[in-house]
């Protein structure tokens, strides 16, 4: 099977773990994975709590989002496993903090189910699949860290 055909049938993704749940994001959006040291982060006041602050990534100033706070995980711990995934999005670079990164996976597209048709499905959810007997949520990372929510007007609602 040619590479193109493989790509057409499979979804190449990075699997990471937040609060015991597995998430998958498009591998092409991932620039690098780094160890996370909260000490090096410069806090930005008046921002929603999930925006941890700014770091200097080889001369570029990039914001760090703690995805766990964004996904409303109750207790956030920073351990040696805690990593930051640096995402290279179309117009900017952003780092997201997750509990751990598990693997890079090829997921057959025909095993992906659409999000459940409930009243209020999360907008960032692309689909669901099972992975190593666990539920894997495939998410649109751009929607997950939606730019629109980073404005002042939203802080009152978020915080």
């Amino acid at each position: 099977m040619s590479q193109e055909k493989k790509d057409a049938l499979n979804y190449h993704c990075l699997v990471f773990c937040v609060d015991g749940q597995e998430f998958a994001i498009d591998i092409l959006k991932v620039q690098e994975i780094r160890e996370y040291q909260p000490v090096n982060v410069t806090r930005v006041a008046h921002m929603p709590p999930y925006i941890q602050g700014l770091i200097n990534l080889r001369g570029q100033i990039i914001p760090i989002i703690d995805l766990r706070i964004k996904l409303r995980v109750s207790e956030v711990a920073y351990t040696s496993q805690t990593v930051v995934i640096i995402l290279g999005l179309s117009d900017r670079i952003v780092g997201i903090v997750v509990d751990s990164v598990s693997n890079v996976e090829l997921i057959a597209k025909n095993t992906i189910e659409p999000p459940p048709n409930v009243n209020n499905p999360a907008a960032y959810l692309i689909g669901l699949t099972t992975y190593k007997d666990q539920l894997l949520q495939i998410v649109d990372v751009e929607k997950l860290i939606d730019h629109e929510h980073w404005t002042l007007s939203d802080i009152s609602q978020e915080a």
Binding site: N40, V44, A45, M47, G53, N56, I61, P63, R92, V94
Partner: protein, 743 residues
């Protein structure tokens, strides 16, 4: 036309065309109609010619080609002394520049250009071309003015393009060009259209007609007939085409097409047909003269029948540059050509600026590491790093100059503005520019154009009096507005000076009170003058279309503040007003003071810091919890706590133990309490806008010497945010400021 995809070169062409137009406007404004400098005329002609050439090469900007071509024809007449250069002609040329600019802009935005304004311009140019004889000048003026109004309305309305731009009758057949009749036989509609475009490039369409399976084109071209046949043979067979010279004297065909057709045997009909085509400026032309070229007859008829009008009133404004006007401009142009320039996209330069910024940061990281080394064991290493540092700094400065442009880039627009605004108001104003060579960051200059335009308009409208009033006040009826730019310290000072009526302090204060603005009769002069920058403030008795709506000046102030600039007004009643703007040289790099509060570090722009001090108990006046005033040399300054703004934990809450930085924003001063000062650095300003829409009280971020990120404080925004709270301080806030502006 099937041509290779040239669209990637379009942007370059647009840039070039707009640059040429800009140059054309400047040269036009410096022209003296009494004794036009031949070299300047040539330069203007070359501009039009280059644009035409460029546009024709792409083959998709037909409107641009036809318009520039006509402009070129008229310019050629002027250049060869066949037509006198009048003020009106210059006005028409200036209008032409506007129309061309709009066309280029429209093409750039991939919109259909407004054909109406181009049409009106063509008609106007035609009028001009026909008014070769000086005695017919007055008539032409009115016609030209009417046409110019048509252009104005057309430009405003942005109407749909008219299809038949090419069909506008053209009568001027320039020297070296011949009138050719092209006959096409048995040509398909598709081929005919592509040939039609081809011919528009090779020459100028005069008119066209058809009969049966034959199409006739009359074009004016410098090319020999063989060349035209050769070009057309790319599309059709040689047997299908016939080219003859000068067929106007012997026309033969019937008039079946809707466009004007050449029937010289019936000049009257022809003349009125043509007159309809250019009906906007030419009303009621039905004169029949037996001229060989009918539309010329129509034009002359208009010129002869329109009542005379005196054009002199609109021409009171004139432009004076610091250097004598008649200094040969071409010399500098030639010098530029020799030195050679390359066109580099601004992003590349920005990238370079950023990267060298990174290197400077890395260098300071190295320098810090250096300090922990044993100075004897590593003497040469330490020295090398220091050398590298100085080389880097030189390089950084050199790269920064790449972004610099002379202020003339902005100043060049104002002669036109003054000329037109003054003309509208019936005032006589001369504009003097000084220090146009002063260099400033391109981004800054661009963002200064609007504020400066407002200020100059304001000076023309409110500053300079009407000529009779000036005479009565024993002043030269010719008012004078000076704009100047100069370096002063690390900043650039731009001044707009008028010798008009000056500001009336009492009138300003009364007006402000009437409008419900915070003002009192105890204000200092400075404070009273600054009232003009308040939103909703206008002292104009009546609203004109020039100014007086009370919007604008507050926008001016805000724009200048956003650029880190300070505004100051000096005015003397009866003598005039000076508005002084002080700007940082660049936005990308600034001198900053790093301060610490709790565990967090911030950078303050050095340009805002007046002084730093540790307050003593008797300098502090506690008002309530966390609110205090600083008594500094008889002045009460409100104290703003940095930890309060950014809710920083674990900070020094005892003001006596903290450090106070006295900051000046415009005319206001306040004290900012921080824990510690860490030192002065040059920092590279990074924008946060890609990540956050707006961070309150922060203007950007930077990377410090140790590689960590620090936020840059926005002194003006901090003041703004705390203003509500500060109102409670009463008199403490609006205290007198330093007489000498800190630069």
């Amino acid at each position: 036309m099937s041509s290779p995809d040239l669209s990637e070169f379009h942007d370059t062409f647009f840039d070039e065309a707009q640059e040429l137009l800009q140059g054309m406007e400047q040269t036009l404004l410096s022209l003296d109609p009494e004794s036009p400098d031949h070299e300047s005329l040539n330069a203007i002609f070359r501009c039009a010619h280059s644009i035409k050439g460029g546009a024709a090469a792409f083959g998709v900007f037909d409107d641009l080609v036809s318009t520039t071509h006509k402009l070129e024809n008229i310019l050629d007449l002027v250049r060869n002394g066949k037509m006198p250069l009048t003020h009106e002609a210059i006005s028409v040329f200036l209008k032409a520049k506007d129309v061309l600019w709009d066309l280029v802009q429209a093409y750039r935005e991939q919109q259909a250009p407004s054909g109406e304004s181009a049409q009106a311009l063509l008609a106007m140019l035609q009028q001009l071309g026909e008014a070769k004889q000086p005695e017919k000048k007055p008539g032409t003026v009115t016609a030209a003015e009417e046409a110019s109004q048509v252009i104005e309305t057309a430009r405003k309305q942005e109407t749909k393009p008219e299809e038949n731009t090419e069909n506008t009758p053209d009568i001027v057949i320039p020297d070296g060009e011949k009138l050719l009749k092209v006959t096409l036989t048995d040509v398909s509609e598709k081929d005919r259209l592509s040939l039609h475009n081809e011919m528009g490039i090779m020459g100028t369409h005069i008119r066209q007609s058809n009969s049966g399976n034959e199409y006739y084109y009359w074009i004016s071209s410098a090319l020999p007939p063989e060349d035209i046949i050769a070009v057309c043979c790319f599309v059709i067979d040689e047997a299908q085409i016939k080219v003859e010279e000068d067929v106007l004297a012997a026309p033969e065909t019937a008039t079946q097409s809707s466009v004007a057709t050449p029937v010289t045997s019936a000049p009257t009909q022809e003349a009125s047909l043509v007159a309809q085509a250019q009906a906007k400026p030419a009303s009621g032309a039905n004169n029949s003269q037996n001229e060989p070229i009918p539309s010329l007859a129509a034009g002359n008829a208009v010129a002869a029948t329109t009542p005379a009008a005196t054009p002199e009133t609109t021409l009171t404004a004139k432009t004076v540059s610091e250097a004598p006007v008649k200094q040969p401009q071409p010399k500098t142009a030639a010098a530029n050509k020799e030195s050679g320039t390359i066109r580099v996209p601004i992003q590349k330069v920005d990238q370079l600026v950023n990267q060298v910024g990174e290197m400077v940061i890395n260098q300071s990281i190295l320098m810090q590491a250096n300090q922990s080394l044993d100075p004897i064991a590593h003497a040469s290493l330490i020295q090398d790093i220091e050398h590298m540092g100085s080389a880097l700094r030189t390089m950084q400065e050199a790269i920064m100059t790449l972004r610099m442009m002379p202020m003339d880039y902005a100043f060049g627009r104002f002669p036109r503005l003054v000329r037109e605004t003054a003309g509208k108001l019936g005032k006589q104003i001369e504009l003097v520019t000084k220090g146009g060579g002063t260099e400033l960051d391109k981004g800054l200059i661009e963002r200064m154009i609007d504020p400066l335009t407002h200020l100059i308009r304001n000076s023309i409208d409110h500053g300079i009096e009407m000529p009779d009033l000036r005479m009565a006040a024993d002043k030269d009826p010719l008012g004078k507005i000076t704009i100047s730019a100069q370096h002063q310290g690390g900043r650039i000072i731009i001044e707009v000076i008028d010798d008009g009526a000056g500001m009336d302090r009492e009138k300003l204060i009364n007006k402000a009170i009437e409008k419900g603005l915070p003002a009192s009769h105890n204000m200092t002069d400075d404070q009273a003058f600054m009232l003009i920058f308040e939103a909703g403030f206008s002292t104009a008795e009546k609203v004109t279309d020039v100014s007086g709506r009370g919007v604008g000046m507050d926008v001016v102030k805000r724009n200048i503040q956003e650029l880190g600039g300070l505004t100051q007004i000096e005015s003397e009643k009866g003598k005039g007003t000076t508005i002084r703007i002080s700007l940082p040289l660049t936005l990308a790099i600034m001198d900053g003071m790093t301060v610490q509060s709790g565990n967090e570090r911030f950078v303050l722009s050095l340009s805002h810091i007046v002084e730093c001090l540790q307050p003593t108990a008797d300098q502090l006046r506690m008002l309530e919890e966390n609110k205090a005033l600083l008594l500094l040399r008889g002045e009460h300054l409100p104290i703003i706590n940095l930890w309060e703004i950014f809710s920083i934990p674990d900070t020094e809450r005892d003001l006596e133990k903290s450090i106070i930085a006295v900051l000046q924003v415009g005319k206001s001063r306040y004290a900012l309490a921080v824990d510690q000062l860490l030192g002065q650095h040059q920092v590279v300003v990074k924008n946060l806008e890609t990540h956050f829409k707006r961070v309150p009280c922060v203007s950007g971020a930077t990377i410090l010497g140790d590689g960590s990120v620090a936020l840059i404080l926005d002194a003006a925004a901090i003041l703004e945010q705390n203003k509500v709270g500060l109102a409670a301080y009463g008199s403490g806030f609006n205290t007198p400021v330093l007489q000498q502006e800190r630069v």
